[in-house]
């Protein structure tokens, strides 16, 4: 089986390529990249006026399976992923049962392989049951297919446990992903602590709850020599702490979500529960700092924190609504807005969705180097479309971007050289 992607603008940031080039795919791998490639008996994919980029990678999704299939499952989640241009997703362990043992990891890998859409990289728990008390069997988790560990959804409160987790994870070269919030400082907060929360009479989550924990985890990474990846950075202070640490040579990477670089706390007005997330949407100053962090490379990763919830979990009072929104199908156009707004070059934007995430979790993906696995996303950058939440392929429709006019869409998504999504066929 051969596929020839012809006539597109190939952007492969890992190899510093941005040129009019064809890509030949053979046996699931990139066989050749060049001008005017020809191959008899290859299926030709016309990419004229399209971008051809390494398959997008999302290192932070919640697929909800096992345990919460009413919100999402591996099938629906990876279908949403490939429709959004993502060929690889790393799924968080806060399932039921928790992915804190090799049985759950194997189940996820096996199910994802059966579904055959995006590649799923499971992320194991740092502590058993996400309880923050004792370390999970990280060695076996890695053997079963986990690419990192995290207790995402909650921080590892106990500093000693986090220290030991980093020391232990280092033995298996597993990055430790920090969900950074000091819960005591968060208190009962439900949105960013600031003027909007004060006006709306909602309890605030102050930025220092995030900064304090990012600082602790960065220092622990420096102390232990572990690889730290900070999930969903949302504050100016966190960006500054990470930037300073990177300058000192600490092995720390960071991600930001499209909603945190697109929206501010103002989106909560009207008590819109689709603007309720953790970390919360922050102030305009924070958004500016995050964009600056993306631009200067402090934040090398854009990740969605795709967090599907059932309608009934959102259609309630703001205080009791669940945190999170779906993101797989909106991340690409929201990232391309950063290009339009001059925050990132097109190549940088693609890097934040491909080689940046691959590097953060040490995944053998994210480039179109000849010989590498042929995960490819073809994008129509000019395609203007209106997001209708009800049309999302995710089982859940919780998005604050309903009705937004967006630009840019994946038209073809190839995983291991196989076309798993074609926008014309949907």
């Amino acid at each position: 089986m051969k596929i020839l992607i012809k006539g597109g603008r190939l952007i492969d940031p890992a190899n510093s390529i941005d040129d009019q080039l064809d890509v030949l795919i053979e046996n699931g791998c990139v066989a050749a990249v060049g001008t005017n490639l020809d191959s008899d008996n290859a299926q030709v994919l016309d990419a004229t006026n399209r971008l051809v980029v390494p398959g997008l990678i999302d290192v932070h999704v919640h697929l909800r399976e096992p345990g919460y299939e009413y919100k999402e499952d591996i099938q629906s989640g990876t279908r949403a992923a490939v429709a959004g241009g993502f060929t690889s997703v790393a799924c968080m362990p806060n399932t039921d049962p928790v992915n804190d043992n090799k049985t759950v990891t194997s189940y996820i890998c096996q199910k994802a392989a059966e579904v055959g859409l995006a590649t799923v990289f499971p992320v194991g728990a740092i502590t058993k049951g996400l309880k923050g008390e004792s370390l999970s069997e990280m060695g076996q988790l890695r053997e079963a297919g986990c690419v990192a560990v995290t207790d995402d959804g909650r921080p590892v409160d106990d500093g000693e446990i986090m220290r030991r987790a980093m020391e232990y994870a280092r033995s298996f070269d597993l990055p430790v992903i920090s969900h950074a919030e000091d819960l005591a400082i968060v208190g009962g907060g439900v949105m960013n602590d600031g003027f909007v929360a004060t006006e709306l009479g909602l309890k605030g989550i102050p930025w220092v709850a995030e900064d304090a924990m990012v600082a602790r985890d960065v220092m622990l990474a420096e102390f232990t020599g572990a690889r730290l990846h900070v999930a969903h950075v949302s504050t100016r202070g966190a960006v500054e702490i990470i930037r300073a640490a990177q300058k000192r040579g600490v092995a720390v990477t960071a991600e930001v979500t499209p909603h945190h670089f697109t929206l501010t706390e103002e989106a909560v007005r009207g008590y819109d529960t689709n603007a309720k997330m953790n970390p919360p949407l922050r102030s305009a100053d924070d958004v500016a700092a995050i964009r600056q962090g993306l631009a200067d490379g402090t934040i090398g990763v854009i990740a969605t924190d795709h967090a599907p919830h059932h309608r009934d979990e959102k259609n309630v009072e703001f205080n009791i609504a669940m945190n999170g929104i779906v993101g797989l199908e909106t991340a690409l156009p929201l990232t391309l807005r950063l290009v339009e707004e001059g925050v990132l070059s097109l190549s940088e934007a693609i890097a934040r969705l491909t080689c940046g995430p691959a590097q953060a979790l040490n995944l053998s993906r994210g480039s179109l180097t000849v010989g590498s696995i042929a995960d490819v996303t073809v994008i129509d950058p000019e395609c203007a479309w209106k997001l209708e939440a009800e049309e999302l392929l995710s089982k859940s429709k919780n998005t604050p971007f309903d009705g937004w006019s967006l630009k840019g869409k994946a038209t073809n998504t190839l995983v291991r050289g196989k076309i798993v999504y074609n926008s014309d066929e949907v």
């Binding site: 009479g201 008590y271 309630v316 703001f318």
Partner: protein
């Protein structure tokens, strides 16, 4: 002038003209409560449901009396003890209420934004009787009515609001209302009870009560909610009353004819000493009396008051 609001969700959405119209209407209704037959036929045939998810004897009674004096059919639902405990969501509640075809729902709810939720989804008028730490518009309006009655005007007055600003919907509604009517608002409380960037609402903010009281025309004391003390917000009642309690001594810092207000119920000896609570300057019972008149005005105006104007006159 006409009143263009179907709902009363907060003072934030009202203009100074709206507020003046409400206060004028309330004044004309106040007389009804002094008649021998305390009833006008204004809202005859209208159904008003008071649904209170939080206990509040006085606000609920005040709304209920207001509805009855306007001849509406009023009924009370205490949701805190029944539906919610059984797992009923606000959406279920909204659907059930709608099925009863009420004209007005008066709602008190522990979560900020709950009345907005109803207003967006239902056909009836919603009057917010207090939502979380957000707004308590009828309370602010009755405070304004009382101030206007005693001082003749609101514009140019200095109003000190002292106490637990962070958790107070009364404070937020009053800041909006007083600012719109041209008063200067000073807020005072310990740092733990002053919410982030509250000064952006247009009030002067201080942690020193005496600074707030200095030359004030009105002193509005807020209730200290004893149940919050465990959360490291306050060291003790004794400490609080020492620095933020109103007593005859510090009241002297305010103007000699300053009004003392309190939304009730009072913690005597904590935020207010009995000497002040029972003193000549307090207008606390006037507030209660005006509460009925203000709520009559609100119910009347949200039901499209103008057409009814001649009938009730």
């Amino acid at each position: 002038m006409s009143f263009g609001h179907k709902h009363i969700l907060g003072i934030e959405q009202l203009s100074a003209d709206d507020i003046t119209l409400i206060l004028d209407t309330a004044e004309s209704f106040k007389e009804v409560s002094t008649r021998e037959i305390k009833k006008v036929p204004t809202l005859r045939g209208k159904t008003i449901i008071n649904i209170f998810f939080e206990a509040s004897t006085r606000t609920r009674a005040s709304f209920e009396i207001a509805g009855k004096r306007l001849s509406a059919d009023t009924m009370n639902i205490s949701a805190s003890t029944s539906a919610v405990v059984k797992g009923e969501t606000l959406e279920d509640t909204a659907k059930n209420l709608e099925a009863m075809h009420p004209d007005i729902i008066v709602m008190r709810h522990g979560h900020s934004g709950a009345p907005h939720y109803l207003a967006e989804r239902c056909g009836f008028s919603v009057v917010n009787a207090g939502d979380g730490a957000h707004e308590h518009p009828s309370q602010a309006l009755l405070d304004l009515m009382t101030i206007r009655e005693k001082k003749g005007t609101i514009e140019g007055l200095v109003v000190a609001i002292v106490g637990d600003i962070a958790h107070s919907r009364v404070a937020r509604s009053n800041i909006y209302a007083l600012k719109k009517m041209g008063a200067t608002v000073r807020l005072a409380g310990p740092g733990t009870l002053l919410p982030t960037e509250i000064e952006r609402m247009g009030a002067e903010v201080t942690t020193d009560m005496n600074t707030a009281l200095d030359g004030a025309d009105v002193v509005m004391m807020l209730r200290i909610q004893q149940e919050r003390q465990g959360k490291a917000l306050l060291p003790s009642n004794r400490e609080y009353s020492r620095f933020y309690g109103l007593n005859p001594e510090n009241l002297k810092l305010a103007k000699a004819d300053a009004l003392v207000m309190h939304p009730g119920p009072m913690n005597r000896g904590v935020e207010i000493s009995s000497a002040v609570a029972d003193g000549a300057q307090n207008v606390i019972l006037d507030q209660v009396e005006n509460g009925v008149a203000v709520r009559m005005a609100l119910l009347y105006l949200v039901s499209g008051g103008e057409q009814l104007a001649e009938q009730s006159a």
